[in-house]
Amino acid sequence: MRIFDAHRVLGPVPGDHVPSSDIAGLLAELDHLGVDGAAVTPSDELYGDPARARHRDAGHARLVTVPVILPAVPGAGWPDGPGAVVDAAPALVRACPVRHRFALTGPVALGWWRELAAAGIPLATDAGEVGLDRVRALVTAVPELRVLVLSPGYRCLRELAELLTVHPGVYVETGTLAAAGGVEWLARQAGAHRLVFGTGAPVWDDAGPRFQLDHLRLPDADVELIAAGSFAALRAGETP
């Protein structure tokens, strides 16, 4: 079974000393856990100003770089406009409206999201940062945009189930769905094809979710979707 971690951070992180501060360390972590590949957010872009980042592309066949974009008025965001994102054609982009202080559903950002949606480029955003209400507002405003909800935690399963049911373009990362039986419950509610294995490591734990993947009480086909298939479909632009 192919296993792909859809949410890792590459590079130094504040408040800790982590093996994944460089590519070799990150790959060693993946090998230790038996994970084939990962989508990585450069920490330089996440914790710094994306416009000033020095380390952007992971540049390794096992890694998919997820650039952090910052929709804003000209001169204050990154890149200069949504056209540059569309031209670069990343598999996935990430946005941090609270961390980077921009309006997720303001008029500028909405223009970006519409262009990205038209180009089939999905957006990842951290539920702990943004809040599910803002995610709901975004996908209500731009229903054709596909959104991967990162790090939702274990306390908002009711809200997640509702979000997935109403908005077919929303996917959810599983690593922090830590309530007992939470992954299986959400799979039964919305389908395993909406759940994406991802951990948020090294900020969040990766070993527990990896172990859990081997012991999910779901049909093999569902586990394979969660392990890698759902992300592949998200990336390919397949309609859920």
Binding site: T176, A179, Q212
Partner: protein
């Protein structure tokens, strides 16, 4: 072979969020599948609002799953009848010790109202599993270290080992310095990296495996210990060797019964 003992579990639902699998049958089934021999539980009815009722619920479930569920009796510092009731319940089959939740009870672990309950634990020779939380006025790891200092006859399991990443290092140092204080590691913020550091700082004989099931999924907690970079000896101590030593005759395991 060293058993795998989950030192920190629960049963039941909780007001703050939805728990998909709150029942003992699911927990025991999953534990069987993944190789957890036994889990000590407090019932969330007892933790959240009604210790007298909740403790009886936990005892009943332990009776349905002998050798698979142990019971942490929730000790309520506000209940004048708690000591007498717990004295009787401590003799019931499957009881592992007392559970203190100073944050829920809004009463510091070192408050005099807990004294008779801890004296009861000392007399019975049982540990106290105490919810711990960095910076909590009721249950900061420093408060739990003081509790262990005052009660050398009661092994104090510092639940969650500090709980948050910015508290893990200090909790480990406190456990290294204070005899009788043990780090119970359950929690969503723990990583294998921090587990390995705790073992290095406090010693493998001071770290206890726990999952916080059914708040949290036991597969996540076990995975952290199984996949941590620990020696086989240290891993066995964390997973169950320490708990077996500290629980002593209180621990009976269905998996080790003679057919």
């Amino acid at each position: 072979m060293t058993p795998v003992i989950d030192a920190h579990g629960h049963l039941g639902a909780w007001a703050d969020f939805f728990v998909p699998e709150p029942d003992a049958d699911w927990l025991v089934d999953v534990n069987t599948e993944i190789g957890i021999d036994a889990v000590g539980v407090s019932h969330l009815v007892a933790v959240g609002r009604d210790p007298a009722t909740g403790n009886e619920l936990a005892l009943a479930e332990a009776g349905r799953h002998p050798g698979r569920l142990g019971v942490w009796l929730v000790a309520d510092p506000h209940d004048p009848d708690a000591t007498a009731r717990l004295r009787d319940q401590l003799d019931r089959p499957g009881v592992w010790g007392l559970k203190l939740h100073p944050d829920t009870h809004e009463c510091a672990a070192t408050d005099p109202r807990y004294e008779p309950l801890l004296e009861l634990a000392a007399a019975a020779g049982v540990p106290a599993l105490v919810h711990g939380q960095t910076r909590s006025p009721f249950a900061d790891p420093g408060v739990l270290a003081e509790l262990a200092r005052r009660h050398p006859a009661v092994p104090v399991f510092a639940g969650h080992a500090g709980l948050s990443p910015d508290g893990f290092h200090r909790a480990a140092r406190l456990a290294a310095e204070q005899p009788g204080l043990y780090l119970e590691i359950c929690g969503s913020r723990l990583t294998t990296r921090w587990l390995e550091r705790m073992v290095a700082i406090a010693g493998a004989d001071r770290v206890l495996f726990g999952t916080d099931a059914c708040f949290l999924d036991p597969r996540l907690g076990l995975g952290k210990v199984r996949l941590a970079r620990l020696s086989d000896t240290d891993r066995a101590l964390v997973l169950g060797g320490n708990a077996a030593r500290l629980l002593g005759r209180r621990l009976t395991l269905a998996s080790q019964e003679t057919p």
